[in-house]
């Protein structure tokens, strides 16, 4: 789903050991981050994880107890929001309801030395960029959700900030509109080349849009990687569970002559590499994770490309293009989810049917018992 990574410039924003407390509540725990010029960066986490606080700290709306926030190498401590080279798109869009669309977009240009005609031109160009050409004279309060979103973007981008901060910008839109805006935002970001920092709780949105994603839990960044690595090699079971669907099976890991062998319940033994253990090789008790799409149910006459294990179908969820099967391997307590693309002419299996499941040792991710 990810549109291919593009090279990003040197670090534009650097956060070093940023700490913040609200009374007894530890909102940000030792945040270290480097965000590059022109990067589309996402802060992803469940609500209350501190992602919005972190964004507002970069914007200058929140103070922090200790640590450093640098933008272009400049320490931002004591620099208020109105003096920072950042602009924000608010969750509620914060469109000024008493102004027209054009006045909203030109709002930030009030103090600029440009002439009035130049300001109008700049605002109109920004509106055109977000696909609202000719909307300038409409009343802002009469716009739809998607249009407000675009006005908010134009209003922030017209100032040519170094960083655009987006606080859950798509959460108020319906699904269709959201998917459309995701693609538009990616295009827009490439066009303007400005660093975007997006806050979202929607893992799919983060995967689709970002060059890199920082996953936050309880005020802490637990993993920061590009979407593919994050999806394939999550560093903990919690991250794995938060991003997409991950099946877990108990296993034991042992070492023989420098190679690691994982003995997985229901699947059997498999050789694994260090690369499959993102948080280090856990010898002894371990948990093995694998994505639903890495398993395939074999049909009659098909042979496994890698390994094969027998299982029983317990649940079938038909989605049209896809079918989700919950199958149970022999000697395993919990069922495992498999997602299969439906192929015309091939019947969906029934509940209770026996199935041969093909699996690949290379697709496994191995976690320690406490990871």
């Amino acid at each position: 789903m990810t549109i291919k990574k593009k090279p990003t410039g040197p670090a534009l924003i650097t956060l070093q050991n940023v700490e913040k407390h609200y009374g007894d509540y530890h909102a940000l725990r030792g945040i270290n981050l480097e965000i590059g010029t022109g990067e589309f960066f996402s802060l992803l986490g469940p609500s209350g994880c501190g992602k919005t606080t972190l964004l507002r700290t970069i914007a200058g709306f929140e103070d922090y107890d200790s640590g450093y926030v640098l933008i272009s190498g400049r320490d931002m401590r004591g620099v208020p929001a109105n003096k920072r080279p950042t602009n924000m798109v608010f969750q509620s869009y914060a469109i000024f309801p008493h102004l027209t669309v054009l006045q909203n977009v030109a709002f930030g240009l009030r103090k600029s030395p440009m002439s009035k005609a130049e300001k109008t031109k700049a605002a109109e160009d920004a509106l055109e960029m977000v696909g609202l050409k000719g909307y300038g004279h409409r009343a802002a309060h009469a716009l739809s959700g998607g249009q407000r979103q675009r006005v908010a973007l134009a209003r922030a981008l017209v100032l040519k900030p170094k960083v655009l901060l987006l606080d859950e910008p798509l959460s108020a839109l319906d699904r269709k509109m959201r998917e459309q805006m995701q693609v538009e935002l990616i295009k827009l970001q490439r066009e303007v080349g400005i660093t975007f920092i997006l806050v979202t709780h929607d893992q799919e949105e983060a995967l689709v849009m970002s060059d890199r994603i920082a996953v936050m839990f309880e005020g802490e960044i637990v993993q920061c990687d590009d979407p593919e690595v994050l999806y394939r090699r999550p560093k903990s079971k919690r991250v794995a569970d938060f991003i997409g669907v991950m099946n877990f099976l108990p296993a034991t890991v042992s070492e023989e002559n420098g190679t690691y062998i994982a003995s997985v319940a229901g699947l059997g033994e498999a050789e694994i590499t260090e690369g499959q253990c993102p948080a280090g090789v856990p010898l002894g008790e371990a948990t093995v994770g694998f994505r639903p799409e890495t398993l395939t149910i074999l049909y009659e006459g098909q042979t496994a490309t890698h390994r094969e294990a027998p299982a029983k179908v317990e649940e079938v969820v038909y989605y049209g293009d896809m079918t989700y099967y919950d199958v149970r391997f022999e000697g395993v307590e919990k069922p495992v989810r498999i997602s299969m693309r439906n192929i015309f002419g091939r019947d969906v299996l029934d509940v209770g049917a026996s199935a041969r499941v093909s699996w690949s040792p290379g697709a496994l991710v191995v976690f320690g018992a406490d990871q």
């Binding site: 914007a59 709306f61 208020p80 929001a81 109105n82 950042t86 602009n87 924000m88 608010f90 969750q91 509620s92 914060a94 000024f96 309801p97 008493h98 709002f107 930030g108 009030r110 103090k111 309060h141 209003r155 922030a156 100032l159």
Partner: protein, 266 residues
Amino acid sequence: MKSLKTYAILYLIFLYAPIFLLPLFAFNSSTVIAFPLTSFTTEWFTTLLTLTEMHGALLNSLKIALTSAVLATILGIFAAMAATRYTFPGQKGIMGFIMLPLVLPEIIVAVSLLIVILRMGFNTGAWSVIAGHTLICTPFAIAILQSAFASLDPSLEEAAYDLGETPASTFRLVTLPLVMPGIISALLISFTISMDEFIIAFFLTGAEPTLPVYLFSMMRFPKLLPAVMALGTILVVLSVLLIVIAEFFRRRGAKRAGLKDTGGFL
């Protein structure tokens, strides 16, 4: 169902019939306030024009109402901002305490103010009525303005600040225009309350009576009673007009800010 309907109608008659009697007798040619009506006249309104003392009282009332309304609204803005934009220890208690004059018997307020003023060695006058009226109008202004400030999305102010404005210019360019309907509404309601208020004015007015106090003193002259009715008619019409205008602004403000109507005084 039917009995409820009858009840509602009777209730409305009970509420409004006395007020409808005002214009009825204001346009009736007899000096005696009694049925049957005699004939239509506008004579009593002309009489009003000749009562110079009343003109003084009216002017006095307008002055007092205008000043009290402005003072109450300014105080109301501060209080409403404190209540909605900040949190501080004891906030709820303090806000409740500020709203207390809303339920305090006016006679108590009037007597205590009178005692305090006289004890301090001052004379009563227009200024003491203004002080009393500001006291009773402020809670109304706060109630209206608090809902205006509360319905203002704080991220609007943050957005303006983020776009390079200072806190002062943010207030001028964003906050003030958006709460303006609330401010106008608070001004008009405070003005109306002060204009109609009798008890505090009666105690604290000194040598120059306000219109309601003057009206009360006119009651002693039966000859002038129809003129009082005429004056009352004018006051009722003006009061209703002001309240309607105030509500109009409040609703327009709510609509502009894209909010659901949360009710007001009407």
